[in-house]
């Protein structure tokens, strides 16, 4: 690309000028400047676009961040499971329902694994899904608006970590219990773990189209800790895989007591078999409650629906539904290669990777190579399903992604490095350090059947930052590194800070989604219950102690901008419609003394701020998003009278005053 070479060319030309002075043309030289440099590879000139979107989970921020690659520039923070005062998410009346659960309104979560929607195993650029670990939920982000539009809660679960790891056509999103608990919940002694604690594996349907995410079925499983997941693809389409640890079933001092056994398991679930059992009615109907919350881009409003009842499958009653694959040393990540044949388990207390073969697994099932049966779940013979072991030389393997050239790339936490290995020979090909203590890694498309550009970039997400950036007190932004993996050797290109604690990220070629972006919402399509489409329709209406302000905004005034007749103790709802019909002209609304946040209203959208004045007086409101040369003039006043007074409602703009 021409612009990428601009800096380099200037440098070259500059050196010639320095050497020859003005007016002379020197001979082209290459020399020391001729080889590629990391700076050139990540330089995106002003006004140019990155070639990839990379979506990072926010970890304990509960959100998602979108970065551009290769520059590492932050493009947007997308609120998902946590309140975001900047956008009014969870503060305005329209988005409050998004955070409803059976535990009530939950303003925070721990977001973990972003997964892009797939068609035929390839990222289709429609949606991004991500799980909330603490209050088990899965959210959908629409990649036309980069907004969270749907959240479904997962009942009978604690800690949704192995999630959402969707199937190759987004048929199902999956989840499982990181923490086993009594299911259904009950009051039991903690030391009755082995007797009373169970896990669930959950399949969620409705990923392909917005609005209908729901629990398809749950499987009641032994009370281990279920850690991470991966759904099959290609030859293994129809199966999903979940790692377990704590098959010891310890309930205390787990770092020691859950690390006793030589092998734990990867649970292999045949979800097509599950569909057969469901069709045959071989399930239990449990009265579990959970929320399904959906945000509609036409009403600009979310609704929270309480759902009741889930279908539960019991493995002992459903032969062939699931198997355990013995896997050494408390496996963390389980990752399936692009063809679907290899199931890579990263035993986090091991130096080696265990690579299971899907075809050998099927053969072992058919030949009944079963070593033991746990709660009706056959444990397959380890040697019968093993494709190979990668002797890495590293310690603490966690996660593996793949390029399109037959290689795996595995992160090693303890030795803080990435190891590249061959899926053909299982031999290590290259290794490169990560700074420091890498968790997940991401190759755009590397979790799908088609890594983009056969795997050009790789991101390391690191748990420890220490000395990578200017220090910022005790807390440091987590670090990420970008590598070029297009050649034989991995090459570190860039180091950049991230938001929260990214657990995994997925990238997609920018061209797949950038032209689908919504630029504004057409006013004609606005179906908000309290929309105001013209200034002629603006009004202020009292209903008991509720006052509804139907207002509009456009560069650079509110209508109305004078409001009187409010009393102390009123609940004032500002329903504000942004009348702009142009890209990148949001307006904000801040009201003095508001106990929630601002509104940040996109063109054509309506949002509502609840304002409860505590004392008499006159309060200003204003636009928070610098919108025009007269932005500072975009303001209004609202007058608040005594609680026991009887002031007349009055509103206006300029010479138009109404009572």
């Amino acid at each position: 690309m021409k612009s990428k070479n601009l800096l380099f060319s200037l440098a070259l030309v500059g050196s010639l000028f320095l050497y020859t002075g003005c007016g002379n043309s020197g001979q082209q030289s290459v020399g020391a400047l001729g080889s590629s440099s990391a700076a050139q590879k990540v330089y995106v000139a002003p006004g140019e676009f990155d070639t990839y979107y990379e979506f990072f989970s926010g970890g304990f921020s509960g959100q998602v961040t979108a970065y551009g690659l290769p520059s590492g520039r932050l493009l947007k923070t997308i609120p998902v499971f946590s309140l975001d005062a900047e956008k009014g998410y969870g503060f305005n009346e329209e988005t409050k329902p998004m955070l409803m659960t059976t535990f009530g309104f939950i303003p925070w979560d721990d977001s973990h694994h972003p997964k892009l929607s797939q068609t035929n195993g390839v990222h289709d650029g429609k949606f991004l899904f991500i799980n909330g670990n603490n209050t088990p939920r899965i959210a959908r982000i629409d990649l036309k608006t980069f907004e969270t539009t749907e959240i479904v809660q997962i009942p009978n679960a604690a800690g949704s970590h192995a999630s959402p790891y969707l199937t190759q056509n987004s048929e199902y999103l999956v989840s499982s219990t990181r923490f086993s608990i009594p299911i259904p919940q009950k009051d039991v002694p903690l030391d009755s773990y082995k007797e009373n604690f169970k896990g669930t594996i959950t399949f969620i349907k409705g990923g392909q189209e917005p609005g209908n995410m729901d629990i398809a079925f749950q499987i009641l499983v032994p009370g281990f800790d279920y850690d991470l997941a991966s759904s099959g693809k290609g030859v293994s389409h129809g199966w999903s895989f979940f790692t377990t640890y704590n098959s010891e079933q310890a309930h205390t001092m787990k770092e020691k007591n859950a690390s006793q056994r030589d092998k734990d398991f990867i649970a292999a679930v045949n979800w097509k078999k599950a569909e057969e059992y469901l069709a045959q009615g071989k399930f239990q109907e449990w009265p579990s409650e959970y929320y399904h919350n959906y945000y509609d881009d036409k009403t600009h409003t979310a609704t929270a629906d309480l759902k009741k009842g889930v279908k539960v499958l019991i493995p002992a009653e459903c032969p062939g539904l699931m198997y355990y694959l013995p896997t050494p040393k408390s496996p963390h990540g389980v990752d399936v290669n692009p063809t679907g044949e290899f199931i890579v388990g990263s035993g986090k207390l091991s130096a080696d990777l265990t690579v299971h073969s899907f075809s050998k697994m099927i053969a072992a099932i058919e030949a009944n190579k079963v070593d033991e049966v746990i709660d009706g779940i056959p444990v397959l013979n380890f040697e019968s399903i093993l494709a190979g072991t990668v002797s890495s030389g590293g310690l603490g393997p966690l996660h593996t992604e793949f390029d399109g050239r037959g290689n795996g790339y595995t992160s090693f936490f303890i030795t803080s490095e990435i190891v590249k290995w061959s899926l053909e020979t299982f031999q290590v090909l290259d290794r490169v350090p990560a700074y420091y203590s890498i968790g997940h890694l991401s190759i755009p498309g590397g979790g799908s059947m088609k890594p983009w550009e056969d795997g050009k970039y790789m991101i390391a997400m690191n748990k420890i930052t220490k000395d990578r950036y200017l220090p910022t007190g005790p807390e440091l932004a987590h670090s990420a590194q970008l590598y070029d993996i297009s050649g034989d050797k991995m090459e570190l290109l860039l180091d950049f800070p991230t938001a929260g604690e990214p657990h995994y990220a997925q990238g997609i070629l920018a061209s797949v989604i950038k032209d689908n972006q919504v630029k504004y919402f057409p006013l004609e399509e606005n179906q908000h219950a309290h929309k105001t489409l013209t200034e002629a329709d603006t009004k202020v209406v009292r209903d008991g102690n509720e006052v509804h302000v139907y207002a509009t905004m456009i560069r650079s005034h509110f209508a109305p901008d004078n409001i009187e007749g409010i009393k102390v103790g009123d609940k004032v709802y500002f329903h504000v419609t942004n009348l702009e019909q142009d890209w990148d002209v949001p307006h904000g609304l801040a009201v003095a003394g508001a106990q929630n946040a601002e509104l940040l209203i996109m063109p054509g959208q309506t949002e509502t701020l609840l304002w409860e004045p505590l004392s008499e007086g006159v309060y200003p409101y204003y636009c928070t998003d610098f919108c025009s040369a007269l932005h500072q003039e975009m303001q209004g006043y609202i007058r608040v009278s005594a609680k026991n007074s009887n002031p007349k409602i009055k509103w206006g703009l300029g010479s138009e005053v109404h009572e």
């Binding site: 800096l7 200037l10 440098a11 070259l12 020391a32 700076a39 013209t534 560069r555 702009e580 019909q581």
Partner: protein
């Protein structure tokens, strides 16, 4: 291999030297280009010459033809929804009233003003003069060319 700081230093030196020698220092990118330094006409000159002023934008020629009542009604609806926050039909509000506008502006200028207000405010002598008078750049309300044509037909009823 030369490190990146050194390359950037060379790049800066190159720009400085090339500029000093009269070379171009490159032009800025993006849709919001700075306004031109010299205007071809003053506001007064352009207003006096309004019958030849077609503005800047996608519209180069409009044949008004016979008055189309249905089209004007459609234009009025669009105008009410998209324009009345700033323009009352018969009196100034945030911006000027369209009453009698066809006696002051060409149909092409009017449609370009609706469809391309940012560039008009920067580069068109009349629009730039109006910005001085009304202080605010007109919002682009996302009308299609057909929408703008309908609004123009509605303006014919305001003469």
């Amino acid at each position: 291999m030369m490190n990146s700081k050194l390359i950037i230093s060379f790049a800066i030196a190159a720009i400085a030297l090339m500029s000093a020698c009269g070379g171009s220092s490159g032009e800025s990118k993006g849709k919001f280009a700075p306004p031109p330094m010299a205007k071809p006409l003053t506001y007064e000159e352009a207003v006096a010459d309004w019958q030849n002023q077609k503005g800047l934008g996608p519209i180069t020629s409009v044949e008004l033809g016979d008055f189309d009542d249905v089209l004007a009604k459609k234009g009025e609806e669009i105008y009410k929804l998209k324009c009345t926050a700033c323009h009352m039909p018969n009196e100034d509000k945030v911006g000027p009233a369209p009453h009698g506008v066809l006696k002051r502006r060409t149909p092409e200028w009017i449609m370009n003003m609706i469809l391309n207000p940012e560039a008009m405010a920067m580069k068109d002598p009349i629009a730039r003069g109006l910005l001085g008078k009304y202080n605010t750049v007109m919002a682009n309300q996302g009308l299609t060319q057909d929408d703008a044509r309908a609004v123009l037909e509605y303006f014919r009823t305001l003469d």
